[in-house]
Point group: C2
Chain length 238, copies 2
Protein backbone atom coordinates (compact mmCIF):
# COMPACT_ATOMS: atom_id res chain seq x y z
CA UNK A 1 0.00 0.00 0.00
CA UNK A 2 1.04 3.61 -0.54
CA UNK A 3 1.08 5.83 2.51
CA UNK A 4 -0.31 9.28 2.21
CA UNK A 5 -0.98 12.24 4.35
CA UNK A 6 -2.25 15.77 3.89
CA UNK A 7 0.48 18.28 3.41
CA UNK A 8 0.94 21.48 5.31
CA UNK A 9 3.37 24.13 4.11
CA UNK A 10 6.15 23.65 1.61
CA UNK A 11 6.51 20.70 -0.71
CA UNK A 12 9.23 18.32 0.45
CA UNK A 13 12.18 18.24 -1.91
CA UNK A 14 13.31 14.66 -1.28
CA UNK A 15 11.52 11.31 -1.04
CA UNK A 16 10.23 10.58 2.47
CA UNK A 17 9.61 7.10 3.75
CA UNK A 18 6.65 8.09 5.88
CA UNK A 19 5.32 11.47 6.87
CA UNK A 20 5.81 12.10 10.58
CA UNK A 21 3.26 14.82 11.19
CA UNK A 22 -0.42 13.96 11.25
CA UNK A 23 -2.48 16.67 9.56
CA UNK A 24 -5.23 18.43 11.44
CA UNK A 25 -6.84 20.99 9.13
CA UNK A 26 -8.71 18.89 6.59
CA UNK A 27 -11.60 21.13 5.67
CA UNK A 28 -10.49 22.03 2.15
CA UNK A 29 -8.21 19.31 0.82
CA UNK A 30 -7.09 19.28 -2.78
CA UNK A 31 -4.78 17.01 -4.71
CA UNK A 32 -1.77 19.19 -4.01
CA UNK A 33 -2.17 18.70 -0.29
CA UNK A 34 -1.63 14.94 -0.46
CA UNK A 35 1.97 13.83 -0.13
CA UNK A 36 2.60 10.44 -1.71
CA UNK A 37 5.58 8.43 -0.69
CA UNK A 38 7.54 8.25 -3.95
CA UNK A 39 8.51 4.58 -3.95
CA UNK A 40 5.13 2.90 -3.47
CA UNK A 41 3.44 5.63 -5.50
CA UNK A 42 5.67 4.83 -8.47
CA UNK A 43 5.32 1.09 -7.92
CA UNK A 44 1.54 1.16 -7.98
CA UNK A 45 1.41 3.61 -10.90
CA UNK A 46 3.89 1.48 -12.87
CA UNK A 47 1.97 -1.72 -12.25
CA UNK A 48 -1.31 -0.10 -13.27
CA UNK A 49 0.26 0.96 -16.58
CA UNK A 50 1.37 -2.63 -17.12
CA UNK A 51 -2.26 -3.70 -16.64
CA UNK A 52 -3.44 -1.09 -19.13
CA UNK A 53 -0.83 -2.36 -21.56
CA UNK A 54 -2.06 -5.93 -21.14
CA UNK A 55 -5.67 -4.84 -21.59
CA UNK A 56 -4.84 -2.86 -24.72
CA UNK A 57 -2.77 -5.73 -26.11
CA UNK A 58 -5.79 -8.00 -25.62
CA UNK A 59 -7.89 -5.39 -27.41
CA UNK A 60 -5.39 -5.45 -30.30
CA UNK A 61 -5.43 -9.24 -30.49
CA UNK A 62 -9.24 -9.38 -30.57
CA UNK A 63 -9.86 -6.29 -32.72
CA UNK A 64 -12.30 -6.78 -35.60
CA UNK A 65 -10.23 -4.82 -38.14
CA UNK A 66 -6.67 -3.89 -38.97
CA UNK A 67 -7.55 -0.21 -38.68
CA UNK A 68 -8.61 -0.78 -35.09
CA UNK A 69 -5.48 -2.82 -34.44
CA UNK A 70 -3.26 0.04 -35.59
CA UNK A 71 -4.75 2.66 -33.29
CA UNK A 72 -5.00 0.32 -30.33
CA UNK A 73 -1.49 -1.00 -30.74
CA UNK A 74 -0.15 2.55 -30.75
CA UNK A 75 -2.07 3.14 -27.51
CA UNK A 76 -0.64 -0.09 -26.08
CA UNK A 77 2.80 1.24 -26.95
CA UNK A 78 2.11 4.41 -24.97
CA UNK A 79 1.00 2.46 -21.88
CA UNK A 80 4.15 0.36 -22.21
CA UNK A 81 6.32 3.49 -22.41
CA UNK A 82 4.66 4.85 -19.28
CA UNK A 83 5.25 1.56 -17.48
CA UNK A 84 8.94 1.47 -18.40
CA UNK A 85 9.45 5.18 -17.66
CA UNK A 86 7.96 4.75 -14.16
CA UNK A 87 10.14 1.68 -13.60
CA UNK A 88 13.15 3.79 -14.61
CA UNK A 89 12.17 6.35 -11.95
CA UNK A 90 12.14 3.57 -9.35
CA UNK A 91 15.63 2.53 -10.41
CA UNK A 92 16.77 6.16 -10.05
CA UNK A 93 15.59 5.97 -6.46
CA UNK A 94 17.78 2.92 -5.99
CA UNK A 95 15.04 0.35 -5.52
CA UNK A 96 14.22 -2.85 -7.40
CA UNK A 97 10.96 -2.22 -9.31
CA UNK A 98 9.74 -5.82 -9.03
CA UNK A 99 9.90 -5.71 -5.24
CA UNK A 100 7.98 -2.45 -5.15
CA UNK A 101 5.32 -3.50 -7.66
CA UNK A 102 4.72 -6.98 -6.29
CA UNK A 103 2.45 -5.95 -3.36
CA UNK A 104 0.12 -4.20 -5.83
CA UNK A 105 -0.15 -7.13 -8.22
CA UNK A 106 -2.98 -9.16 -6.65
CA UNK A 107 -5.47 -6.31 -6.27
CA UNK A 108 -4.57 -4.79 -9.62
CA UNK A 109 -4.87 -8.14 -11.39
CA UNK A 110 -8.32 -8.63 -9.85
CA UNK A 111 -9.19 -5.11 -10.94
CA UNK A 112 -8.24 -5.86 -14.53
CA UNK A 113 -10.28 -9.05 -14.53
CA UNK A 114 -13.25 -7.24 -13.04
CA UNK A 115 -13.08 -4.49 -15.66
CA UNK A 116 -12.24 -6.61 -18.74
CA UNK A 117 -15.88 -7.01 -19.76
CA UNK A 118 -17.76 -9.63 -21.71
CA UNK A 119 -16.78 -8.59 -25.22
CA UNK A 120 -14.48 -6.31 -27.18
CA UNK A 121 -16.63 -3.20 -26.64
CA UNK A 122 -16.82 -3.71 -22.91
CA UNK A 123 -13.07 -4.31 -22.84
CA UNK A 124 -12.51 -1.01 -24.67
CA UNK A 125 -14.90 0.89 -22.43
CA UNK A 126 -13.31 -0.69 -19.36
CA UNK A 127 -9.88 0.58 -20.37
CA UNK A 128 -11.20 3.95 -21.52
CA UNK A 129 -12.96 4.72 -18.25
CA UNK A 130 -10.56 3.18 -15.76
CA UNK A 131 -7.41 4.50 -17.48
CA UNK A 132 -9.15 7.84 -17.86
CA UNK A 133 -9.80 8.05 -14.15
CA UNK A 134 -6.58 6.54 -12.86
CA UNK A 135 -4.10 8.27 -15.21
CA UNK A 136 -5.64 11.56 -14.26
CA UNK A 137 -5.72 10.65 -10.58
CA UNK A 138 -2.08 9.56 -10.37
CA UNK A 139 -0.95 12.49 -12.48
CA UNK A 140 -2.64 14.97 -10.17
CA UNK A 141 -1.42 13.21 -7.05
CA UNK A 142 2.09 13.43 -8.49
CA UNK A 143 1.88 17.13 -7.62
CA UNK A 144 2.62 16.06 -4.07
CA UNK A 145 5.88 14.35 -4.99
CA UNK A 146 9.21 16.14 -4.64
CA UNK A 147 9.17 18.82 -7.32
CA UNK A 148 11.56 17.37 -9.91
CA UNK A 149 10.21 13.86 -9.62
CA UNK A 150 6.64 15.14 -9.63
CA UNK A 151 7.20 17.06 -12.87
CA UNK A 152 8.74 14.02 -14.56
CA UNK A 153 5.95 11.72 -13.40
CA UNK A 154 3.28 14.13 -14.61
CA UNK A 155 5.00 14.33 -17.99
CA UNK A 156 5.04 10.52 -18.15
CA UNK A 157 1.41 10.06 -17.16
CA UNK A 158 0.04 12.96 -19.20
CA UNK A 159 1.27 11.57 -22.52
CA UNK A 160 -1.77 11.25 -24.72
CA UNK A 161 -2.55 7.55 -24.73
CA UNK A 162 -5.60 5.48 -25.42
CA UNK A 163 -8.31 8.10 -24.87
CA UNK A 164 -8.63 9.31 -28.47
CA UNK A 165 -8.62 5.90 -30.15
CA UNK A 166 -10.91 4.34 -27.55
CA UNK A 167 -13.33 7.27 -27.67
CA UNK A 168 -13.39 7.09 -31.44
CA UNK A 169 -13.85 3.28 -31.62
CA UNK A 170 -16.59 3.32 -29.00
CA UNK A 171 -18.34 6.35 -30.47
CA UNK A 172 -18.45 4.73 -33.91
CA UNK A 173 -19.73 1.43 -32.48
CA UNK A 174 -22.49 3.14 -30.50
CA UNK A 175 -23.59 5.18 -33.50
CA UNK A 176 -23.78 2.10 -35.69
CA UNK A 177 -25.67 0.02 -33.10
CA UNK A 178 -27.71 2.20 -30.73
CA UNK A 179 -28.71 -0.81 -28.63
CA UNK A 180 -25.07 -0.99 -27.57
CA UNK A 181 -25.52 2.30 -25.70
CA UNK A 182 -27.77 0.85 -23.00
CA UNK A 183 -25.51 -2.11 -22.32
CA UNK A 184 -22.37 0.02 -22.29
CA UNK A 185 -23.98 2.66 -20.07
CA UNK A 186 -24.72 -0.03 -17.47
CA UNK A 187 -21.22 -1.44 -17.83
CA UNK A 188 -19.63 1.98 -17.52
CA UNK A 189 -21.51 2.74 -14.32
CA UNK A 190 -20.45 -0.58 -12.83
CA UNK A 191 -16.77 0.26 -13.32
CA UNK A 192 -16.73 3.22 -10.97
CA UNK A 193 -16.75 1.22 -7.76
CA UNK A 194 -13.79 -0.96 -8.67
CA UNK A 195 -11.81 2.03 -9.87
CA UNK A 196 -12.44 3.97 -6.68
CA UNK A 197 -11.25 0.96 -4.68
CA UNK A 198 -7.95 1.05 -6.54
CA UNK A 199 -7.72 4.79 -6.07
CA UNK A 200 -8.49 4.41 -2.38
CA UNK A 201 -5.87 1.69 -1.99
CA UNK A 202 -3.33 4.34 -2.97
CA UNK A 203 -4.32 6.34 0.08
CA UNK A 204 -3.86 5.41 3.67
CA UNK A 205 -4.42 7.69 6.60
CA UNK A 206 -1.71 7.99 9.17
CA UNK A 207 -2.55 5.65 11.98
CA UNK A 208 -3.19 8.49 14.44
CA UNK A 209 -5.91 9.85 12.18
CA UNK A 210 -9.16 8.06 11.48
CA UNK A 211 -10.59 10.65 9.11
CA UNK A 212 -9.16 9.23 5.88
CA UNK A 213 -12.55 8.99 4.22
CA UNK A 214 -13.37 12.60 4.89
CA UNK A 215 -9.98 13.74 3.69
CA UNK A 216 -10.08 12.03 0.33
CA UNK A 217 -13.75 12.61 -0.38
CA UNK A 218 -13.18 15.72 -2.55
CA UNK A 219 -10.62 13.81 -4.60
CA UNK A 220 -13.11 11.08 -5.36
CA UNK A 221 -15.87 13.56 -6.12
CA UNK A 222 -13.63 15.03 -8.78
CA UNK A 223 -12.81 11.56 -10.19
CA UNK A 224 -16.49 10.78 -10.54
CA UNK A 225 -17.22 14.12 -12.20
CA UNK A 226 -14.53 13.38 -14.79
CA UNK A 227 -16.00 9.93 -15.30
CA UNK A 228 -19.42 11.46 -15.96
CA UNK A 229 -17.95 13.84 -18.55
CA UNK A 230 -16.25 10.88 -20.25
CA UNK A 231 -19.53 8.93 -20.36
CA UNK A 232 -21.40 11.99 -21.68
CA UNK A 233 -18.87 12.40 -24.48
CA UNK A 234 -19.80 8.89 -25.65
CA UNK A 235 -23.53 9.63 -25.35
CA UNK A 236 -23.81 7.22 -22.42
CA UNK A 237 -25.91 8.01 -19.37
CA UNK A 238 -23.60 7.97 -16.37
CA UNK B 1 1.18 -12.98 -51.77
CA UNK B 2 4.45 -11.22 -52.42
CA UNK B 3 5.83 -11.67 -55.88
CA UNK B 4 9.50 -12.34 -56.27
CA UNK B 5 11.96 -13.06 -58.92
CA UNK B 6 15.69 -13.57 -59.15
CA UNK B 7 17.63 -10.44 -59.92
CA UNK B 8 20.20 -10.07 -62.64
CA UNK B 9 22.42 -7.04 -62.77
CA UNK B 10 21.91 -3.76 -60.94
CA UNK B 11 19.52 -3.23 -58.05
CA UNK B 12 16.45 -1.29 -59.13
CA UNK B 13 16.28 2.15 -57.55
CA UNK B 14 12.50 2.49 -57.44
CA UNK B 15 9.64 0.20 -56.39
CA UNK B 16 8.51 -2.10 -59.19
CA UNK B 17 5.08 -3.61 -59.31
CA UNK B 18 6.29 -6.80 -60.92
CA UNK B 19 9.60 -7.74 -62.46
CA UNK B 20 9.30 -8.16 -66.21
CA UNK B 21 12.27 -10.41 -66.92
CA UNK B 22 12.12 -14.04 -65.93
CA UNK B 23 15.45 -15.24 -64.53
CA UNK B 24 17.30 -18.06 -66.22
CA UNK B 25 20.56 -18.67 -64.37
CA UNK B 26 19.49 -20.09 -61.02
CA UNK B 27 22.41 -22.25 -60.08
CA UNK B 28 23.81 -20.09 -57.28
CA UNK B 29 21.08 -17.88 -55.92
CA UNK B 30 21.62 -15.80 -52.83
CA UNK B 31 19.39 -13.44 -50.90
CA UNK B 32 20.65 -10.41 -52.82
CA UNK B 33 19.43 -11.88 -56.10
CA UNK B 34 15.79 -11.92 -55.04
CA UNK B 35 13.86 -8.76 -55.82
CA UNK B 36 10.84 -8.31 -53.59
CA UNK B 37 8.04 -6.04 -54.66
CA UNK B 38 8.18 -3.35 -52.00
CA UNK B 39 4.49 -2.98 -51.22
CA UNK B 40 3.51 -6.60 -50.49
CA UNK B 41 6.93 -7.24 -48.92
CA UNK B 42 6.35 -4.45 -46.42
CA UNK B 43 2.74 -5.52 -45.86
CA UNK B 44 3.66 -9.08 -45.00
CA UNK B 45 6.65 -8.05 -42.89
CA UNK B 46 4.53 -5.49 -41.00
CA UNK B 47 1.76 -7.99 -40.31
CA UNK B 48 4.25 -10.58 -39.08
CA UNK B 49 5.64 -8.05 -36.60
CA UNK B 50 2.11 -7.42 -35.36
CA UNK B 51 1.78 -11.15 -34.74
CA UNK B 52 5.07 -11.22 -32.84
CA UNK B 53 3.82 -8.29 -30.79
CA UNK B 54 0.60 -10.13 -29.97
CA UNK B 55 2.52 -13.27 -29.05
CA UNK B 56 4.92 -11.34 -26.82
CA UNK B 57 2.04 -9.45 -25.20
CA UNK B 58 0.45 -12.81 -24.40
CA UNK B 59 3.77 -13.93 -22.95
CA UNK B 60 3.79 -10.80 -20.77
CA UNK B 61 0.24 -11.37 -19.57
CA UNK B 62 0.96 -14.99 -18.65
CA UNK B 63 4.50 -14.53 -17.30
CA UNK B 64 5.21 -16.15 -13.94
CA UNK B 65 7.16 -13.20 -12.51
CA UNK B 66 7.44 -9.45 -12.75
CA UNK B 67 11.07 -9.78 -13.82
CA UNK B 68 9.98 -11.84 -16.81
CA UNK B 69 7.22 -9.35 -17.56
CA UNK B 70 9.69 -6.49 -17.74
CA UNK B 71 12.02 -8.10 -20.25
CA UNK B 72 9.21 -9.51 -22.36
CA UNK B 73 7.26 -6.26 -22.39
CA UNK B 74 10.35 -4.42 -23.61
CA UNK B 75 10.63 -7.02 -26.40
CA UNK B 76 6.93 -6.55 -27.19
CA UNK B 77 7.63 -2.84 -27.49
CA UNK B 78 10.36 -3.52 -30.04
CA UNK B 79 8.06 -5.70 -32.17
CA UNK B 80 5.45 -2.95 -32.00
CA UNK B 81 7.98 -0.33 -33.11
CA UNK B 82 8.97 -2.53 -36.06
CA UNK B 83 5.31 -2.96 -37.00
CA UNK B 84 4.61 0.77 -36.92
CA UNK B 85 7.86 1.64 -38.71
CA UNK B 86 7.02 -0.76 -41.56
CA UNK B 87 3.51 0.67 -41.73
CA UNK B 88 5.06 4.13 -42.01
CA UNK B 89 7.12 2.90 -44.98
CA UNK B 90 3.92 1.74 -46.67
CA UNK B 91 2.40 5.19 -46.17
CA UNK B 92 5.54 6.73 -47.71
CA UNK B 93 4.81 4.64 -50.79
CA UNK B 94 1.33 6.11 -50.88
CA UNK B 95 -0.63 2.97 -50.03
CA UNK B 96 -3.07 2.18 -47.24
CA UNK B 97 -1.34 -0.31 -44.90
CA UNK B 98 -4.56 -2.12 -43.94
CA UNK B 99 -5.33 -2.95 -47.56
CA UNK B 100 -1.82 -4.27 -48.09
CA UNK B 101 -1.67 -6.30 -44.88
CA UNK B 102 -5.16 -7.80 -45.10
CA UNK B 103 -4.34 -10.57 -47.61
CA UNK B 104 -1.62 -11.86 -45.27
CA UNK B 105 -3.82 -11.94 -42.20
CA UNK B 106 -5.47 -15.36 -42.50
CA UNK B 107 -2.30 -17.39 -43.07
CA UNK B 108 -0.30 -15.40 -40.53
CA UNK B 109 -3.04 -15.74 -37.91
CA UNK B 110 -3.07 -19.50 -38.48
CA UNK B 111 0.71 -19.49 -38.20
CA UNK B 112 0.56 -17.74 -34.83
CA UNK B 113 -2.03 -20.18 -33.54
CA UNK B 114 0.02 -23.13 -34.76
CA UNK B 115 3.18 -21.83 -33.08
CA UNK B 116 1.66 -20.55 -29.82
CA UNK B 117 2.29 -23.80 -27.97
CA UNK B 118 0.64 -25.48 -25.03
CA UNK B 119 2.18 -23.46 -22.22
CA UNK B 120 4.28 -20.40 -21.49
CA UNK B 121 7.58 -22.09 -22.34
CA UNK B 122 6.33 -23.35 -25.68
CA UNK B 123 4.93 -19.88 -26.40
CA UNK B 124 8.34 -18.36 -25.69
CA UNK B 125 10.19 -20.92 -27.77
CA UNK B 126 7.66 -20.47 -30.58
CA UNK B 127 8.34 -16.73 -30.72
CA UNK B 128 12.09 -17.17 -30.26
CA UNK B 129 12.49 -19.59 -33.14
CA UNK B 130 9.94 -18.19 -35.59
CA UNK B 131 10.89 -14.55 -35.02
CA UNK B 132 14.54 -15.55 -35.17
CA UNK B 133 14.06 -17.14 -38.57
CA UNK B 134 11.63 -14.65 -40.07
CA UNK B 135 13.24 -11.40 -38.89
CA UNK B 136 16.49 -12.59 -40.32
CA UNK B 137 14.84 -13.79 -43.51
CA UNK B 138 12.96 -10.56 -44.19
CA UNK B 139 15.96 -8.46 -43.25
CA UNK B 140 18.16 -10.29 -45.71
CA UNK B 141 15.54 -10.24 -48.43
CA UNK B 142 15.30 -6.47 -47.90
CA UNK B 143 18.67 -6.32 -49.67
CA UNK B 144 16.71 -6.75 -52.87
CA UNK B 145 14.56 -3.67 -52.27
CA UNK B 146 15.46 -0.30 -53.81
CA UNK B 147 18.61 0.79 -51.99
CA UNK B 148 17.28 3.53 -49.69
CA UNK B 149 14.18 1.61 -48.74
CA UNK B 150 16.17 -1.58 -48.26
CA UNK B 151 18.58 0.11 -45.88
CA UNK B 152 15.74 1.55 -43.81
CA UNK B 153 13.92 -1.78 -43.68
CA UNK B 154 17.06 -3.60 -42.61
CA UNK B 155 17.61 -1.04 -39.87
CA UNK B 156 14.01 -1.57 -38.71
CA UNK B 157 14.16 -5.36 -38.72
CA UNK B 158 17.66 -5.65 -37.30
CA UNK B 159 16.81 -3.83 -34.06
CA UNK B 160 17.66 -6.20 -31.26
CA UNK B 161 14.33 -7.52 -30.07
CA UNK B 162 13.17 -10.57 -28.21
CA UNK B 163 16.14 -12.88 -28.83
CA UNK B 164 18.14 -12.03 -25.71
CA UNK B 165 15.27 -12.10 -23.22
CA UNK B 166 13.72 -15.23 -24.76
CA UNK B 167 17.05 -17.04 -24.89
CA UNK B 168 17.72 -16.12 -21.29
CA UNK B 169 14.24 -17.10 -20.01
CA UNK B 170 14.30 -20.40 -21.87
CA UNK B 171 17.89 -21.19 -20.91
CA UNK B 172 17.12 -20.65 -17.24
CA UNK B 173 13.95 -22.75 -17.42
CA UNK B 174 15.74 -25.64 -19.15
CA UNK B 175 18.59 -25.57 -16.62
CA UNK B 176 16.16 -25.65 -13.69
CA UNK B 177 14.04 -28.45 -15.17
CA UNK B 178 16.05 -30.68 -17.52
CA UNK B 179 12.93 -32.67 -18.47
CA UNK B 180 11.75 -29.52 -20.21
CA UNK B 181 14.55 -29.92 -22.76
CA UNK B 182 13.08 -33.01 -24.40
CA UNK B 183 9.63 -31.52 -24.75
CA UNK B 184 10.97 -28.20 -26.04
CA UNK B 185 13.34 -29.92 -28.47
CA UNK B 186 10.38 -31.72 -30.03
CA UNK B 187 8.34 -28.52 -30.09
CA UNK B 188 11.19 -26.55 -31.64
CA UNK B 189 11.62 -29.08 -34.43
CA UNK B 190 7.90 -28.99 -35.18
CA UNK B 191 8.00 -25.22 -35.75
CA UNK B 192 10.29 -25.35 -38.75
CA UNK B 193 7.68 -26.53 -41.22
CA UNK B 194 5.16 -23.81 -40.43
CA UNK B 195 7.84 -21.14 -40.54
CA UNK B 196 9.12 -22.29 -43.91
CA UNK B 197 5.56 -22.17 -45.24
CA UNK B 198 5.32 -18.51 -44.23
CA UNK B 199 8.73 -17.83 -45.72
CA UNK B 200 7.73 -19.61 -48.90
CA UNK B 201 4.46 -17.65 -49.11
CA UNK B 202 6.63 -14.56 -49.48
CA UNK B 203 8.07 -16.00 -52.67
CA UNK B 204 6.28 -16.68 -55.89
CA UNK B 205 7.93 -17.59 -59.11
CA UNK B 206 6.99 -15.65 -62.19
CA UNK B 207 4.34 -17.66 -63.96
CA UNK B 208 6.61 -18.49 -66.84
CA UNK B 209 9.03 -20.21 -64.50
CA UNK B 210 8.20 -23.38 -62.64
CA UNK B 211 11.51 -23.66 -60.81
CA UNK B 212 10.60 -21.64 -57.72
CA UNK B 213 11.46 -24.43 -55.34
CA UNK B 214 14.91 -24.88 -56.79
CA UNK B 215 15.56 -21.15 -56.73
CA UNK B 216 14.73 -20.62 -53.08
CA UNK B 217 16.25 -23.84 -51.81
CA UNK B 218 19.56 -22.22 -50.72
CA UNK B 219 17.62 -19.54 -48.86
CA UNK B 220 15.73 -22.13 -46.87
CA UNK B 221 18.86 -24.17 -46.23
CA UNK B 222 20.36 -21.10 -44.60
CA UNK B 223 17.20 -20.49 -42.54
CA UNK B 224 17.33 -24.03 -41.21
CA UNK B 225 21.03 -23.77 -40.37
CA UNK B 226 20.31 -20.62 -38.34
CA UNK B 227 17.47 -22.45 -36.61
CA UNK B 228 19.81 -25.27 -35.68
CA UNK B 229 22.31 -22.82 -34.19
CA UNK B 230 19.51 -21.21 -32.19
CA UNK B 231 18.39 -24.60 -30.84
CA UNK B 232 21.99 -25.55 -30.01
CA UNK B 233 22.44 -22.35 -28.03
CA UNK B 234 19.57 -23.47 -25.80
CA UNK B 235 21.01 -26.97 -25.46
CA UNK B 236 18.15 -28.40 -27.53
CA UNK B 237 18.70 -31.09 -30.15
CA UNK B 238 17.51 -29.70 -33.47
Amino acid sequence: MVFWTSRRGARPEAPRLRPRVAPTDLARVDFGELVPEPVPFLGQAAYIQLEFFEGLAKAVATAPSLTSKEGLSAAAGVALRKHHALIAELRRLGVEPDDVMAPFAPATDRFRQATAGADWYELLLGIHLTAGMLDDYFSRLADGLPADLGARVRAILDEEGAAVVLGSELGAAIRSDPRLADRLALWGRSLVGDTLLIARSALRASEADGRAGERVEPVFTELIADHTRRMDALGLTA
